[in-house]
Amino acid sequence: MAEVELTVRVLRGPARASAAGGRYETYTLRADAGWSLLDVLEALQAGPAPDLMYRHSCHHASCGTCALRVDGRERLACLTTVGQIAAGRLGERTGHGKDYRLPRGARAAVTLEPLRSFPVLGDLAADFAEFFGKLDAVEADLVAARGEEATHFEHCITCGACMSACPIVASDLEYLGPAPLALALRGLQDPTKTGSDARRLAAADQPHGVWRCHHVFECTAACPAGVDPGQALMELRARLVRRRLGWREGARR
């Protein structure tokens, strides 16, 4: 893989209520085109920015921990490669396994910011406490028949990318948002019928629930897991309408 001279602009700052108010710091390093952004962040932490804060865990798009904004787009750091950045292909889900045929001595610049609409623990690390509270409100964790918690029955990795991309969440922080509402629908579709459908529907059918959506579908565009939260919201609305009109629910999907 080609080596890239990468200039990284990072929005840094201490714990604060939102991403605003930080300051940009710029670092330059030589990075392999096959590196992920997590590799870049680790290199920065090992070198010029030992106190750099960011979230990560699995490194393979399962945990949903490393979401951040890359040149203004919500992305998983683990799926985004240096080659992809240098080739200007951030619209692609991942750069792994691709050869962008970069010229020798390629240079690239990228700006990294924490997710929008989340409090910030520091630098690039978003605070997910409120978001997880919203997931609890819709009983997002499915419970197996034996009683133990069994998460990840669904595609959603609760990375928060959709919450950051959604303009309604940005203006109304009480709005439940795309991921919790999509997971409410997922709960209703759960064939094992665990959890309380009534609680899920009640959470969705409130002033800051599913009715606030403006059909912008930025959530669907931002989702790295192919969940399509926008469509899930529309289906959730249809279910609430059918329920209110007293129509029988069709076969569960």
């Binding site: 309604i168 109304d172 059918d205 002033p207």
Partner: protein, 119 residues
């Protein structure tokens, strides 16, 4: 208003009036711009509104436009993150505005059509 259980109807009516507007606006355009060569005169318009079927269609258009427009405005204003009390005040203000617009529109339509006994 603004409490749980209200929004479902607001949205359902928004979708219904949206569909209705596709049909009613198309009829309105045809009657005003294509049914007769050249611009309609006041007498033409009065004759249209004297027809009870046309009057009903135009009143339906009036109510659909007012509801669809004001509820859309409501959705945008709610993005400002109003308090529950603020949202209630907004609902009442928009309701009053819509009622005033509807009353004015109904009065105008009946008057032009000669339904109030004067032309």
């Amino acid at each position: 208003m603004g409490e749980r259980g209200y929004s479902v109807w607001a949205w359902l009516l928004q979708a219904f009036t949206g569909l209705l507007l596709v049909v009613l606006v198309a009829l309105h355009m045809v009657a005003n711009h294509f049914a007769k060569r050249g611009l309609l005169t006041y007498r033409d318009v009065a004759a249209l509104f004297a027809d009870p079927y046309w009057l009903v269609l135009q009143l339906a258009l009036l109510f659909a436009v007012i509801y669809h427009g004001l509820n859309g405005l409501r959705a945008v204003i709610l993005d400002a993150g109003l308090s529950p009390a603020g949202a209630r005040r907004l609902d009442w203000a928009l309701f009053a505005l819509g009622a005033a617009m509807a009353a004015y529109g109904v009065g105008l339509a009946l008057s032009i059509g000669g339904w109030l006994g004067s032309r």
